[in-house]
């Protein structure tokens, strides 16, 4: 099972319904291609760090999905390029640490980072990895 994450930015000038329908359309495309959606995150309207297509803000969505084989990803990305309502997109393959991080984030186990604390963010599971180096 391969885990991927696609983050895309929707044009902010569209009405709320159109934005939702764009996100729905992307999700349907993923489902039709046989991917199983793990999570859909709407990061909402955000200020862009630099203007894209003369717009200074955008609506961010992040969809995490998993599938067996991803030969269809090329076509999926091509469709996103052709979609006029999307400003940018980024598809990333998640390794096991990424999957775990996303999972922890959704379950609230990752809070504000404090460099002075001695507890690790990923709990005790990574302690064995450190111990193995000494062995």
């Amino acid at each position: 099972m391969r885990h991927y994450e696609v983050t895309f930015i929707v044009d902010p000038v569209l009405s709320g319904d159109e934005v939702k329908s764009t996100a729905e359309h992307i999700q349907n495309e993923l489902r039709q291609a046989g991917a199983e959606l793990v999570a859909v995150d709407e990061l909402g309207l955000r200020q862009l760090a630099y203007p894209i297509n003369k717009r200074s803000s955008g609506i961010y969505y992040c969809i995490e999905f998993k599938c067996e084989s991803a030969a269809w990803l090329g076509k999926f990305e091509l469709n996103m390029t052709r979609n006029e309502r999307l400003l940018r997109y980024l598809t990333v393959k998640l390794d096991k640490y990424g999957v775990k991080y996303n999972d922890d984030k959704r379950n609230g186990r990752i809070g504000k980072r404090k460099p002075e604390t001695t507890t690790t963010e990923d709990g005790g599971d990574l302690a064995p990895a450190v111990v193995n180096l000494d062995a």
Partner: protein
Amino acid sequence: MAASREDVKFLSNPKIGLRRKKYCRFRKFGIKYIDYKDAEFLLQFINEQGKILPRRITGNSLKYQRRMATAVKRARHLAMLPFVGDLLK
């Protein structure tokens, strides 16, 4: 009368000139994944102009410096961090 040399030496902290130990915060706290969507976190590793800070300043190990750099570049692509900035902090 006047304080002797030995007394004066320990009136201030004798460790005052020593450098703080630099360490890789990812190795130390067991952080294995750097999220490119977390712009606040990544701000620690870029300077006010938006440039990525070198390893000798951040103290990262090579492995995590590279991961951090790819995370910053992805964030720049998604317009969460600027390519060129001014007075970012």
